[in-house]
């Protein structure tokens, strides 16, 4: 290391320098691998996004045409709106259920493991299978609700398709959050609870003043990942409705997939994907700004 080569540095400066080197050494495997698999190939995609590339063969540079087109594309607008709806639901419903489940689990001893395992099962099953099961359950002719006399084509009606797929995703997701939150809650220092009890705090007060702050880093993390995953939402939608009927459950990633593989507009698809990444970047920047203002203070 070049640390020894620094002649006139003070001990403190050398220590800082050393800490930086050690820190980056710890980060190196992650960053190198990520650069190889994700960043490098994505950079190539930046190039494609400025071309009329069909997905096969040579590409011609067309400047910002794809981006201009994306801005004016009604399909993109509709898909973005669906992403937003998706985000709001995907953030609120599973989070509320997960916190409830985790809290209740943390309060009971008997059967805790059993319940936790049961809640976790939907997350364990591959998306293909879950989607298939729910397709049957939601069938307008033979599904559960159809047999109860409710005549509604959940996935086939343009008004309910997006909500129905989102419901299935929430169903498979909340148990996962419950388990994550539970393990975060178990990581909270028990002494804090003892102290709160000594002060005569009620369970609700304990929950608010000890539990929630204790799991805040985990919660913030989950919220951020939810933003990202909502913008990327793909697999369940693609398996259950493929964005249909008539685009009523289309989100940006399904639109992008179709552009790249069905419509031979890989350049346009790349522009769409990068625009979405840019949107995410803006949201993350906003988060950083909030964090600087002492919001996370972890």
């Amino acid at each position: 290391m070049s640390v020894t080569a620094a002649p006139a540095s003070t001990g403190a400066r050398r220590a800082r320098w050393r800490a930086a080197v050690v820190g980056w050494a710890f980060l190196a495997p992650l960053l190198l691998l990520n650069a190889l698999v994700v960043l490098g190939p994505s950079v190539a995609t930046v190039y494609y996004s400025f071309t009329d590339w069909s997905g096969l063969g040579p590409a011609t540079f067309i400047g910002f045409d794809n981006y201009v087109k994306a801005f004016g594309d009604a399909k993109v607008h509709e898909a973005l709106w669906h992403n937003l709806v998706w985000f709001v639901l995907f953030l609120s419903v599973p989070m509320a259920m997960g916190l409830l489940g985790a809290y209740l689990l943390s309060q009971v001893k008997r059967g805790q493991m059993l319940f936790r395992a049961l809640y976790f099962i939907p997350y364990v099953i591959a998306s293909v299978v879950n989607a298939a099961v729910w397709k049957m359950l939601l069938s307008p002719t033979s599904g559960v609700l159809a047999q109860l006399g409710i005549d509604q084509s959940w996935l086939g009606d343009t008004r309910t398709s997006l909500l129905s797929v989102n419901f299935v995703v929430d169903w498979h997701w909340w148990g996962f959050l419950a388990v994550i939150f539970l393990s975060a809650m178990q990581g909270v220092d028990p002494e804090l609870y003892d102290a709160a009890k000594m002060d005569g705090a009620s369970a609700w007060q304990q929950y608010r003043s000890v539990t929630l702050p204790g799991i805040r880093p985990t919660m913030v993390f989950i919220v951020l990942m939810t933003v990202i995953w909502s913008l990327k939402a793909f697999d369940y939608i693609f398996i259950m409705t493929q964005g249909g009927p008539a685009g009523s459950s289309e989100v940006v990633s399904t639109l992008m997939y179709k552009q790249a593989f069905n419509e031979y507009s890989a350049g346009y698809a790349a522009a769409l994907g990068l625009s979405m990444t840019l949107v995410t970047a803006v949201i993350l920047a906003f988060y950083q700004w909030m964090r600087k203002k002492g919001w996370e203070d972890a």
Binding site: A35, L39, W53, L56, P58, A59, D157, P245, Y264
Partner: protein
């Protein structure tokens, strides 16, 4: 472009970003396409196929791959099976990277054009000459895969649309096979009144199922003459004759005749429709001849009913349209990867597969539709062991070709993006977001754009085809 050269370029350390950026420039550099042969006609030949189901795969391995290897001991045919959607994405991804299987199973004919234009498929013209493929395969099918005098793929399977019906149900109800619009609509209304869905249909498992419907309605309502005029640019797809066909589809949906209504068409899985068809709560299913592979499982002891099925030609929906009339088209293609290092051996396989008429007919007799390659044969050449219902498809198509009473399936004769719009746009029509007229107008626009780019297969000449 050899692998070692590009690899050295990768390892020469021009930075991570350059790794990614090398890809497009390499692709561009490779764009030319040599068209020459490669390999010495022996060794391993990779083939990726979308044959699904254990029995079907076993049949291919035993009766096709093994038989070929026995005839050509120096070639090792290495087959890998994929699901249809995955196969297409994978082949496309691999072709872009100048890798992938030696023999490329292309999607519908219309999209193979896009691949050919990107110069990722090898030129088959020299092989066609060497092996005399033009004499062995039906000209109409080969011509569809020829641009500027170059053959870039071989047609894989002959497709047509049939109207399957529950034979037992028809007998029980005393229904006669309809031949025109009036008798078909009368029957549909009667069935509907009895709580039977007249036409089973769903796009849940196959998004593009909408184009099967449009193929049926445009051919049997608008008629092949109008289609030919539109495909050659004499008239537009916005012509009332096409708009009315779309309006007719919509009206049948609105009456609940097709699939039980729009909502259900978008939500009931095909397996459930099949089961209802077997039980007799669905009377008819307009479907491709490939459905013959699956329809059997919904009937008889295994399905716990005592019913049987059959098919009839789709009735004429307008008096000006001929009956019987069969759509003609090609489902998929087989081509050779431009990047293949073993093109000669791959061509040997293609020649073996298409060249032996007796073996080909035997396969057609043993497995309905999967192996229906477009070769010329007489009705008497068909083995007697064939299921009569499958046999009738072969003889009917032969007759249609020889008399000129054939139509056009969308996935063969329409250009790629227009083809996608046919089923994507139909969803908009069915949900009331687009009027039939607007749908046809947009279709016409998309078609003209792609026609101008030259993305059209060559139509067979009018009249009897070969």
């Amino acid at each position: 472009m050899t692998a070692s050269l590009s690899r050295r370029r990768f390892l020469s350390g021009t930075g991570i970003a350059a790794l990614g950026l090398t890809a497009p420039s390499l692709l561009a550099a490779c764009g030319g396409g040599s068209g020459g042969s490669a390999g010495d006609g022996t060794g391993k030949v990779d083939l990726w196929l979308d044959i699904q189901g254990d029995a079907n795969q076993k049949y291919f391995n035993d009766k096709v791959a093994a038989a070929f290897e026995q005839a050509n001991p120096k070639i090792d045919l290495n087959t890998t099976f994929y699901k249809g959607d995955d196969l297409r994405r994978l082949v496309q991804t691999a072709l872009q990277s100048r890798s992938g299987p030696d023999i490329v199973r292309g999607p519908s004919a219309t999209q193979t054009i896009a691949w050919s234009k990107a110069h990722v498929l090898g030129d088959l013209t020299p092989y066609a000459k060497k092996f005399g493929w033009k004499d062995k395969l039906s000209s109409w099918a080969v011509d569809a895969f020829t641009t500027d005098g170059k053959l870039y793929a071989l047609p894989m399977r002959v497709d047509t649309m049939l109207l399957y019906f529950n034979k037992t149900l028809f007998e029980k109800q005393g229904w006669k096979q309809p031949t025109d619009r009036a008798s078909l609509e009368g029957l549909a209304a009667e069935a509907m009144g009895k709580g039977i869905v007249p036409f089973g249909s769903s796009n849940v498992d196959w998004k593009a199922a909408g184009e099967w419907l449009m193929t049926v309605f445009w051919n049997h309502f608008s008629g092949p003459d109008a289609l030919r005029q539109a495909l050659t640019g004499e008239i537009q797809f916005s012509d009332p004759v096409f708009v009315d066909a779309v309006a007719l589809v919509k009206s049948w949906f609105d009456k609940g005749w097709i699939g039980g209504g729009v909502d259900k068409y978008f939500a009931v899985p095909s397996q459930e429709i099949g089961a209802n068809f077997g039980k007799g709560t669905v009377a008819m299913i307009p479907q491709g001849n490939w459905f013959m592979n699956q329809v059997g499982q919904y009937f008889g002891a295994k399905a716990k009913n005592e019913n049987d099925w059959d098919w009839m030609p789709m009735p004429a929906l307008r008096s000006e349209v001929k009956y019987p009339l069969f759509e003609m088209g090609i489902g998929g293609s087989l081509a050779i990867n431009e990047a293949s290092k073993n093109k000669d051996a791959a061509a040997e396989y293609l020649n073996w597969y298409y060249g032996d008429k007796t073996a080909a007919l035997q396969r057609m007799a043993e497995v309905p539709t999967t192996y229906n390659i477009p070769i010329d044969f007489g009705d008497t050449d068909i083995p007697q062991t064939i299921d009569p219902r499958a046999g009738r498809v072969l003889t009917s198509l032969n007759k249609a070709v020889s008399t000129g009473d054939y139509g056009f399936v969308t996935w063969t004769w329409w250009p790629p993006k227009t083809d996608v719009f046919i089923y994507e746009g139909l969803e908009q029509v069915l949900t009331g977001k687009l009027t039939p007229a607007d749908y046809c107008k947009q279709l016409a626009q998309q078609f003209s754009t792609e026609k101008a780019d030259g993305n059209l297969p060559q139509l067979p000449a009018k009249g009897p085809a070969k």
